[in-house]
């Protein structure tokens, strides 16, 4: 049967099992939107900004593991997606962005709402396409989904000129994808896996660093098995949070710039580092020459270019995290059934526990002013940790990472690589679309939330009860923190001066607005917010603007060179609030 290109797009999406699209209409995509108008299987979520649409698709993907889809028009519609695409690219998130394009005959003519979006997004997509002939359309969409979701996942953009979507052709859904230049390697080299197993057997002070790749490859079970079997403690990067239960006795939290003291010390003193699905980002390694100076490094990653990009690697294993970990556990079990792991690790785990006691993640509770960490702790406590947590970027993100102990994968939405302010709220919205019955929280700052605040309207329209906890300190807090510590307290343009009344903003959109100005109001406000099931909630927490994120490794320092903030008062005076 002959079909219009626009209809082929919709049919392909159905074949891929897509139920939701996030999008915004415009001139050259009207014919696609026309087919969506009375479609029963696919719902389009009309966001208020194309950036919001892409972040929502990203949040949808992170929380489900399925690709997220966005559909926008040409020109400004397309360019507005760039930040969202770059965010997904840095964090390896599978999304497909369909952008409209002016008719092929007009391309290059500076036509109305024309932008070379394929050129613009080339460096921030895993791959992108300009469809020039409707006959290629189905094949390209099929390839795009395959590329986005296989190997190291990532965003793919498909640019659809108007004449292509209004042209007709026979619709043929290609059963197979064949790309001779793209063959991701999933199985790890057996010999290398054996080498890794031997290194684990020899190591006295081993530590695992799990990254986002563990979540992408659904390797949490295998990771837990390896850690528990060999009694090796697990550090999770910002992207890896949720890959291993945060409350597990072997969990050491996050490494790096705002990582825990004990995670960083474990790395610096280890004799074996088992890095899984992480890429040694500069925020993790600190000064690279002094990173893990005594450790042999095993690096497991599906992307060969991640290996030896930043650090020397002794045992590289290219492959899918789940399969490699599984292989590794099998080899260990076969070869060393009698190995007394508990005995081998005893001294090391004892040392780590000592570090844990020396500097637990903590803050000083104050009876009169709300500490932002206290809000995060309360959110954790009152949801019993059973929530999908999104964050914006900056202090809010770090406090959320430190104090919300995630227990499950795919319950953490944060822009780790690109560090995109304005990401959290639309991402939370996307996750709420996928999980209508779950509690979805965006932990935000008063700066970040204003970068995509318009999505309140979307949440109201679709009755998405996203809870936004605004840690309102009137500042761009992380910038302020750096200025205080490294720029002689010269707060150049980090004070926002006017912050809107977030309660009124929420109410103006038809959402619920709540405020807490005193520590005693935090719990009631959260409880009130958690009751709301039919609309978004803004919780405006007026927090201590002086609060800083600690520990902190200054830029350019080695990760054991940590700052802990003001000298603590006597142990008795301070109320340590380390989460058990």
């Amino acid at each position: 049967m002959k079909m219009l290109g626009a209809q082929i797009v919709i049919e392909c999406l159905k074949k891929e099992g897509v139920k939701h699209i996030f999008g915004y209409p415009g001139g050259v995509v009207l014919n696609i939107f026309d087919f969506l108008y009375d479609d029963k299987d696919i719902q389009l979520i009309l966001t208020r900004h194309e950036q919001g649409a892409v972040h929502a698709a990203d949040g949808y993907a992170r929380s489900t593991g399925k690709p997220g889809v966005a559909l926008v028009t040409s020109g400004p519609g397309a360019t507005n997606t760039v930040t969202g695409i770059a965010t997904a690219y840095m964090d390896s998130i599978p999304i497909i962005v369909f952008s409209g394009q002016v008719p092929t005959k007009l391309i290059g003519n500076d036509a109305f709402q024309e932008a070379d979006i394929v050129g613009i997004t080339r460096p921030c997509t895993k791959h992108n396409y300009l469809v020039k002939d409707v006959k290629d359309l189905a094949r390209i969409i099929r390839e795009a989904f395959y590329i986005a979701t296989s190997g190291r996942p990532g965003p793919v953009l498909i640019d659809l000129p108007k004449d292509v979507t209004s042209d007709k052709t026979q619709f043929v859904w290609p059963e197979h994808v064949s790309l001779r230049g793209y063959n991701p390697k999933y199985e790890g080299n057996k010999w290398m896996i054996k080498q890794a197993a031997h290194a684990i057997q020899k190591a006295k002070r081993a530590v695992i660093i799990a990254g986002g790749g563990v979540i992408h490859s659904a390797a949490t079970k295998e990771l837990k098995e390896l850690a528990e079997y060999t009694q090796i403690p697990v550090i999770m990067t910002l992207m890896g949070l949720g890959a291993f239960p945060g409350t597990h006795k072997l969990a050491l939290g996050m490494p790096g710039m705002h990582g825990s003291y004990y995670a960083n010390m474990a790395i610096q003193n280890s004799d074996l580092l088992i890095a899984v699905g992480m890429r040694f980002d500069d925020r993790v390694t600190g000064r690279i020459n002094d990173f893990a100076p005594h450790a042999k490094i095993i690096h497991i990653d599906i992307d060969p270019s991640s290996i030896r990009k930043n650090v020397r690697v002794d045992i590289p294993i290219v492959g899918d995290a789940r399969r490699v970990l599984k292989g590794l556990v099998n080899v260990l079990k076969e070869e060393e059934a009698k190995n007394q792991w508990d005995e081998i690790r005893k001294a090391w785990l004892k040392q780590i526990n000592k570090w844990k006691k020396e500097h637990p993640l903590s803050y000083e509770y104050d009876e009169n002013v709300i500490k932002p960490q206290f809000v995060v702790e309360k959110l954790y406590e009152l949801t019993k940790g059973d929530a999908i947590v999104a964050t914006e970027v900056g202090q809010n993100q770090m406090w959320a990472a430190q104090f919300f102990k995630l227990s499950r994968p795919r319950s953490w939405l944060t822009s780790g690589g690109l560090g995109t302010m304005g990401y959290g709220f639309p991402a939370a919205m996307g996750a709420q679309v996928a999980h209508p019955d779950k509690t979805v929280i965006d932990i935000a700052g008063d700066g970040s939330i204003q970068m995509n605040i318009q999505e309140l309207a979307t949440c109201v329209l679709y009755k998405l009860p996203v809870k936004v906890a605004i840690l309102n300190n009137g500042y761009l807090g992380m910038v302020r923190q750096w200025q205080e510590l490294f720029f002689k307290e010269r707060y150049s343009y980090s004070h926002l001066d006017t912050v809107p009344d977030f309660v009124k903003v929420a109410e103006a959109y038809g959402a619920v607005g709540l405020r807490a100005e005193h520590p005693s109001e935090v719990e009631p406000v959260i409880k009130e917010a958690l009751k709301v099931k039919d609309r978004p909630v803004f919780m405006d927490f007026i927090v201590d603007w002086k609060e800083k994120v600690f520990p902190m490794v200054p830029a350019g320092a080695a990760i054991h060179e940590m700052m802990f903030g003001e000298e603590k008062k006597s142990k008795k005076e301070q109320k340590l609030r380390a989460v058990k």
Partner: protein
């Protein structure tokens, strides 16, 4: 160190930009690049000359391999191969030097492909050293301009890639 990398790619629009963009985006250097169709018209070969330490070259190779449209990457530096480059040199010798220019052209097995009352345009093919030697020799006679193709290279038969 300098490396000559041979990249087999899909012969599609936009592939050259992907490859060039990879180099510029990651701060790698391209000394020369030449592209042409292969025996299979759906494929092209790019010969790229670049410099970098081992780690950079390893990254370049891996990053090239990551591009969907790249089918195969071979660092020819590591294997026995033949390389050639062509240059067109426009020289404007004095009357009394003309014979010497022609003699040198012959020694280099070059050809005069254009001549005017004041100039000769000489075509020379060879490896880089030969091209550079010829340019050096022509300099005293007055080179008006020259254009180089950039290197192309092929592995010797029987060499395992």
């Amino acid at each position: 160190m300098r490396h000559t990398i041979s990249v087999l790619v899909e012969n599609k629009f936009g592939v050259l930009t992907r490859v060039a963009g990879l180099f510029s985006g990651r701060g790698y250097n391209i000394e020369s690049l030449s592209v042409g169709e292969t025996i299979d018209p759906q494929l092209s070969i790019m010969t790229i000359v670049t410099t970098g330490d081992d780690q950079i070259i390893e990254q370049i190779t891996k990053q090239l391999n990551k591009l969907i449209d790249v089918i195969k990457v071979v660092d020819l530096t590591e294997i026995d191969h033949v390389e050639r480059e062509m240059v067109l040199v426009k020289v404007a010798p004095k009357q009394e030097d003309k014979a010497e220019v022609l003699r040198l052209t012959e020694i280099f097995r070059g050809r005069v492909v254009d001549s005017s009352p004041r100039t000769y345009t000489v075509e020379i093919t060879g490896d880089e050293k030969k091209i550079e030697a010829f340019i050096e020799l022509m300099k005293p006679f007055g080179i008006k301009e020259f254009v180089r193709t950039g290197k192309i290279a092929i592995a010797r038969e029987g060499v395992k890639k």
